[in-house]
Symmetry: C2
Subunit: 328 residues, 2 copies
Amino acid sequence: MEEPRTSPLLSQIGEREAIRRLAARLGTRADVRIGIGDDCAVTEAAGSPFDWLLTSDPVIEGVHFLSDAPPGGIGHKAAGRVLSDIAACGGEPLWLLFNVVAPPDCPVRILEAAYDGAARLCSRHGAAIVGGDLARGERLEWHAFGVGRVPRGRAVLRSGARPGDTIYVTGRLGGSGFRGRHLDFEPRVREGRWLGDGGWATAMLDVSDGLAADLRRLLECSGVGARIRLPDIPVSDDARALAGNEEDARRHALCDGEDFELLFTVRPDRRADFERNWRANFELDCTAIGEMTEKKERLLAIRADGGAIPCEETGYEHFRHRTAHDRR
Amino acid sequence: MEEPRTSPLLSQIGEREAIRRLAARLGTRADVRIGIGDDCAVTEAAGSPFDWLLTSDPVIEGVHFLSDAPPGGIGHKAAGRVLSDIAACGGEPLWLLFNVVAPPDCPVRILEAAYDGAARLCSRHGAAIVGGDLARGERLEWHAFGVGRVPRGRAVLRSGARPGDTIYVTGRLGGSGFRGRHLDFEPRVREGRWLGDGGWATAMLDVSDGLAADLRRLLECSGVGARIRLPDIPVSDDARALAGNEEDARRHALCDGEDFELLFTVRPDRRADFERNWRANFELDCTAIGEMTEKKERLLAIRADGGAIPCEETGYEHFRHRTAHDRR
């Protein structure tokens, strides 16, 4: 057996490789459709017309928020990350639990305000906070766990995209840390359910680690490549305000994390029909930014002048990079 | 609105009062049978013959284990706490998720060994680890979330005990921190399911904060009092090895936490039948330690000489007490 002292460190192999190694050690059950590796785990419930979506996310002081963050935003983000994961599978969020870690000298009012932020967001999306735990620690941490459901066999996965599918993203991207949008975003629950129920999305995830990084995950899971048109990426006002010029703003839109918008693919023959129906249902932007290709192309970003840039190493990863907040 | 600076601190009001305040702020859904306040939340699974049991527990370095703890024991404890909560509701554990927090210089081998410990325990009880998250932090933390199920309407709650019910506890209590039993306990999953399926237990919880503290919770939730006979409390070998004398050992059995045994009540007219059936099914000790009484008696501990001691302030609570491990 490998001794701890000869083991690589987390910082050497990074978050994704560590998760891959850990996932390889786990058993399963016959009722687990999708385990580790998608936005949610998907499980069957005997005798029920639904599959169940299970997901968990941490929101940690110094990593996901700074110590001067508004408390309501902390709870909002903790609940919102979980709601966004469920939305990204096309699901309906139902129940949330929070493990809260707090220092003994934390004013109770801070926790109450954070819970209010979480409860308000959950209530808006029809979900309820049903339990959790409170423990002592050095920093404030919220570990959120969520359960959602989706009609049996209808969860939208990361693995369903095919060459030729059009790539869409909701909203506008980049700079979510600049003016606190990462603490006040709207998880795309209604849009995600509509995309799933209508069978529009062939694959979907939410943009948490940055468009380029998350799109690469979609490619890995689906076994395809992609071309995205840089000038078509929807750039947020935050990214523009933060950036020195348009190219810099586009880099923020491509690489920043925590937009919590939906990134998904639609079959090419349904594209026109999809866009018409989207506009009939939502005011939210939904932008076609490229197409899926054969796997060998990997991820190419096409400039305005037609030049193609391989787009391999961008986006946030725990342990290997410092956080967006550290970088400010 | 109360300003943060005038708010009481967590250390001033304690864990239970903080949870009470936070729970009062939350909304609910029609399909939530039991929210915050029991071992698990209980929700209806639409269209299925089951209710869901949802629970979450933290296992934190410096609070729930020391930095020299065997890694396998950390994972075992994280999974075991959740399995024990599900057992305490009479449920069948199904799926677990872990949010893991680790320092960047943590050897991957430590996480692998911890996952192995968790996976081994889950597998023994038929449950699967299906997801989670890995984030950066100062200390090692495992936040475990679990989903179990129980036939609809059959979850065993803390609120079902009535005056006259006999109080039982499984196993032997006390000193779980002395030789590492708190990292290597067996959650009473088979016993809990049997107690629930057979309708034997009128109320149940698992002993996590100490027999006296947890029994008081059962009394509060059921609106009853209790008398327990001190000489009948089953004392573990660990408690005896740790204690100077029998009285001290019994104090450990009454007040120490993290035994993860089941504490439950049985109707008096079923007592003989229950004890015969228990012995036919399990080798594990199951000891009658007292009876439920009218609420006005609260909790009385009866000494060998017949004297009655009111038993109000014992047992572990986060924020107000230092941990068992701190005290060593």
